[in-house]
Symmetry: C2
Subunit: 306 residues, 2 copies
């Protein structure tokens, strides 16, 4: 099978780790940088990982997709707030069979992209990973790491499975989901409680779990998300909440991506992680009062009133 050529759009906590691991294993990977471009051209990309540190002295770094070659697989690792830029960013990278994998949080992001690219092969990627960008061209991978991919549109199952093989060969756990919608909702079961609560209470997942009342609240939020998924026709058992709680208890103290966005005064991904699921639940006649309250509190913070 022909070796795949990869592009990484947004080389941060996720793109830097997954793209970095693939490049480190000898794959052909092309990275788009924004503010770190000059630094990385000089110094390369550094990944401090629990499974082994490495430093890529020379990588294919770009600051515009116009200079990049067409690729077989594109990992989109932007913040969803920037997805409106994809209509301009993607075209130079696309050939007839290019598959775009949105490794992002939230709901309905694939459908938004499909509206602009109705014939594009599109997939979603759910990263269950603790990793942060801690400096220019510098990623810290703290825990976990599995990437699950699932198709949204196009005949891309074989390609996505090859991507999983490449990842596994690069020492990254990967899996193919034949139900992207379910995988997206399952990811939300974790993302909705922990991201928002870490911001509103300015804390870490560990502290939320140590305190009885917030442990209960995290579980309440998870059960609302599971209820909403079921109302939307996506079957998730209530016991999945317990699995997520347990795996978070085993997790190293971690600041989720929205907490880092908050700390660094970047926009929060409220729309994709909260508003879209709330709107889907509402359309299905299901009420998520605590999730709605979390969204309301996050808007207050986002609007700079804190």
């Amino acid at each position: 099978m022909k070796k795949l050529r990869y592009a990484v759009i947004g080389t941060g906590a996720l793109g830097g780790f997954y793209g970095g691991m693939l490049a480190h294993a000898g794959n052909d990977v092309h990275f788009l940088f924004h503010s770190d471009y000059d630094y990385v051209r000089e110094n390369g990309l550094k990944v401090d990982s629990v499974i082994g540190d490495f430093h890529l002295n020379k990588i294919n770094a770009y600051n515009s997709t116009a200079q990049m070659p067409p690729c077989d697989v594109i990992f989109v690792c932007l913040k969803t707030n920037n997805n409106k830029m994809l209509a301009q960013i993607l075209p130079p990278l696309l050939h007839e069979k290019t598959c775009v994998i949105l490794i992002q949080n939230g709901l309905h992001i694939e459908s938004n992209l499909a509206a602009d690219f109705p014939n594009l092969s599109i997939a979603g990627g759910m990263a269950f990973i603790c990793s942060n960008k801690i400096g220019k061209g510098h990623i810290a991978h703290l825990d976990y790491g599995k990437l699950t991919v699932g198709s949204y549109q196009g005949e891309n199952e074989a390609l996505l499975k090859q991507v999983c093989c490449d990842l596994e060969a690069a020492n990254v756990p990967a899996g193919y989901s034949d139900n992207l919608e379910e995988s997206r909702w399952k990811k939300l079961v974790w993302n909705i409680p922990y991201n928002g609560m870490c911001v509103v209470l300015n804390t870490t997942t560990e502290r939320l779990m140590q305190n009885k009342e917030t442990y209960d609240l995290i579980r309440d939020l998870m059960l609302e998300v599971i209820g909403a998924a079921n109302a939307c026709g996506v079957g998730i058992e209530e016991g999945f909440a317990k699995d997520m709680l347990d795996s978070t208890l085993r997790m190293k103290p971690y600041a989720p991506s929205m907490k880092l966005d908050y700390d660094f005064k970047r926009p929060l991904e409220i729309e994709a992680i909260y508003s879209e699921p709330l709107s889907a639940a509402c359309d299905a006649g299901f009420d998520m009062p605590k999730v709605a309250m979390l969204e309301q509190q996050l808007h207050f913070i986002q609007n700079g009133y804190c």
Copy 2:
């Protein structure tokens, strides 16, 4: 009619203002102090009020009720967290007809006192006021000020009406409520949203009102409290929420008492303001999910995890 002798237990934002206004108007008022006792013996009590500043050079100040005379009316203005001390504090002040008025926030505080003093004349006081203790023996009265009193047990209607007359004569708006339970719930319609939200989002009432999402959330919380009151057999119209929102919009920017407790690292009155109403609503089969979430978040903060 015989002039009433007053005791003020807890001379802070409320006790200092109401007791100070009564003393300033020539009433016989005896104040219990805790940490400010020595300062006030030297310097008296200072009230900066929107309706006129004054300074009481010499007041009847005590640091123990054992030295205080029996009184006709006792204003209890402690934090509810300290109400367990009342069983020891009150006895020296009581004669056969003494009426204790709990000028405090929350629900079921009168019944807790009645359990220790089954034959005591007990009333509740609801203060709709913006006032803060800003220094030793120093109260700032910023806005509003009405005190509503209502009987809980004992034949005290005439006495309470005389208290209202004394307050009015001292330039303090006062009213007698013949339905304490309703007045308590109405007070909660304001207290539950603003106290907790100002703490969780570390902000002021004004900022909560300026931001659309938190304005909506405040209204959601108010409607949950009104729903709970109705489920508990206390009729409050939904339109009362609008009245409270409107009067808060007209209010000067204000940090509610729980926000000051938070700022000064004092215990928060979670039990009386949140847990008791939630428990009453639960017993009546009514769900208050957003109020419950606010309580959960406050416990996290109270437990020192922030």
